[in-house]
Structures are given as structure tokens and as C-alpha cells.
Amino acid sequence: MGEAYAHPEALVSTQWVQDHLDDPKVRIVESDEDLLLYDLGHVPGAVRIDWQGDLQDQVVRDYINADRFAELCSKSGISSDTTVVFYGDKSNWWACYAFWAFTLFGHKNLKIMNGGRKLWIDESRPLTRETPAYPRTDYKVAGGDEAAIRAFRDDVLAHMKAGGKLIDVRSPKEFTGEMQHMEDYPQEGALRAGHIPGAKSVPWSRAVDDEGKFKSVPELKTIFEKEAGLKPADDVVAYCRIGERSSLTWFVLTYLLGYPRVRNYDGSWTEWGNLVRAPIERGPGA
């Protein structure tokens, strides 16, 4: 049980965060699925960065450009050398997504608060409704290696044809194609249900325990290596429906298990399930 995570510095405890609330080199960021949670109360000094309103371009299906990212960081009091610690609801889905997005822009020193918002509250740690204001910074975007952590549809098609490893982190019924999730999800719809041929089903939630903390290395190895057949040297592509939950799996494989080549396919099922001539597979899979 004592085996350490491959990159333990990417994960901090709630106590670490509490000890660094007044550290000017650290900026705490809350990223949630439910926008209202931040307004209900957040970690003192934490800023809100919303995956949808702040990180995504609302016209092009892409992330904001480098200028807008620099502006977001500057107004949030984040400098290029600031350590940014993300936390959020739903076992840190959106926190991992924001971590991934920051990595796209080349920001170093990123961390996830293990257990997220729920554990912070369960431990009766301080909350505030006060929105902090920080002196503006003059953020310079370093520029990340997008190709290393992001897969586009053509990459995925080539990967699939080459027999590369694919991890589908959606619910089992979405994987088998029993559930299409069309009704009342018009923005997340796909014309066909199923999964990318060859993908293994590992729902994202399997990587976290009941407290919302990440599972141990042996537990994660059992899930991803014994059951899903991954090997540490594999080139892996993870996807879900819109690319948010799979960033949690990307985080787990990259930082906790230390896999050197993991990409998030953020186009995910909403793109693949609608692509003309993209092959799909139904049923429990291989």
C-alpha cells in the first residue's frame, strides 16, 4: 500500500492547502461542475475559474487563445511562477480539467487538492463567501506541448487503426450503446451510441474512493493494468462525452501512475458519435 505516486508533487492534501492560504506564491482555484457552489462558500482566498465561461471559447469549439488565457491569469493574480492548486466538486473532475487546460498553455507548478471540495467541507475547514481581489499580474504564456496531451479526431482514428490503447471513462451504459443521452442533452448529443472500437471501459469514478480521494497505486494498477490491460509504456488516449471526466483519468495515468504518453481526446463522444464514417462498436467490448 505504501507505493508512492509517480509525481507526488502534483497532489496536495487539504491540510497543505490550509497551511498555504496566505502564501503569496500559491493561488487556490475552485473549478466546479455546479457554478453556484463557489457562491455558497469557498476556500478563503480561492478564485473561481469556470471550465465553460472562462476556459472555453464560446464560438469555436476550442480553448480560449493565449491572449485570453494571459488575461484570465493576470486578473486572477496568477503569475507565470505561481503555484496553482485546483479543487472542485465531483471528486475534482473540473479541477483536473482546469489542470489539463493550464498544462495546454504551458503553466508549471500545478496541483490538485486531494479529496476536493467535499473533503474540505467534511473536515470542517474554513469557508467564505467573500470574493478575493488580487493585484493584477502581467502573465506571460509559456506555451505548452499540445500534441503531447491532446488528441484530435484524426489522431484518434490513426491511433485506433494502429491498435493503440483507448480508455472510455463514460458510464457502462453509454459505453455499450444502451444509452444515447440525447433527450434533454441537446448540446451533448450524438447520433449514434456506442464506443470507439477497441476502447476499454473504465468509468472515471473508479479512480477515486468514497471520500473523493484518489486510490492508491496498487489499486489503480489493478484497475488500469490488470483489468484494462494498460502497460506503463503504452501510448494511451482517454475520452468521455465532452472531454472533462477524461481529464481526471489523464491526470491519474500521467501523474499518479507516471505514464509518459497519455492524451485526452476532448472532442470525445459528442464528436466521434457524430462523425461521418467514423467506425463505432456496441456491446461490452473486447
Binding site: 461542475e33 455546479d34 457554478l35 453556484l36 457552489l37 457562491d39 455558497l40 469556470d50 465553460q52 465561461g53 466538486d89 467535499k118 433527450e183 434533454d184 442533452y185 441537446p186 448540446q187 451533448e188 465532452i242
Partner: protein, 145 residues
Amino acid sequence: MPAALDAIIDELRESDRQERIDLLIDFAKNLPPLPPELEARKDAEHRVEECQSPVYLFVEMIGDRVALYGDAPAEAPTVRGFVSLLLEGLNGAAPEDVLKVPGDLVDRCGLTEVLGMLRVRGLAGVLRRIKRDVARVAMLQHAGH
């Protein structure tokens, strides 16, 4: 549409972004707890499938008026607030008025602007579910049950 719901929509529409968030938070805080007999009946049949959070709805008729009960977790304040808003706006209404509630209610309240399009996906499902259950319960009553 029931007058109580109409008034809520007007209030939300006239508010700015932060006021809408605060109003929704107030609704979430004021959602009445389920009566114990319904608490015991929180099963798959009463769960709103479209919501990723466990949201439960119960519809009854008291005389010729609709009685609604609902529950949603505190960790999902958006949907909890919306359920609370619907309960306040629709309780005591005539079934035919509930059925007349426009399907784009979330938009009309200005919540799509606040929450973003991807986030309001489950909310429309809550309203649809209420309308479906109201239609069913009212029909049963009409048939003499």
C-alpha cells in the same frame, strides 16, 4: 402558466447575473425537506434520470390542485434551486396550468445566460418530468381513482 411561477420568472428576469445566482441559492436553501413517508420512497421510479445528481420528484393531487415534493442534494445547488423554484411556483396550481408551463422556462428565467448552455441540460428534464407526472396523476384522478 400559474401566477406564482410567472412572478418568479419576472423577478429572475429583471435581476442581474449576481442577483440571479443569489436568488437561486436562496431557493436551494429554502427547499422544504421531504415528508418522511416520501423520504422512504426515494427509488428509481421517482428519480429524474436526466440529472446526474440524485434528484427525486413526487406528484400528488390534493382535491383538484397539484401538490409537488422534491429533493436534490445540497452539493448540487443549481438543480436544488431549480427544483425549489418549481415547487414554489407550481404548488397549488391546477394541472392544466402546470401543463401550460413553457418548455423553455430555464431560458426565460435568464438561467442559461448565468449558467451556460451545457449546464442547464438537466434542468429541462426536471420540468418535463413534473409535467409528465402531473398529466398522469390528473388523468388517474379524472378516471375516478
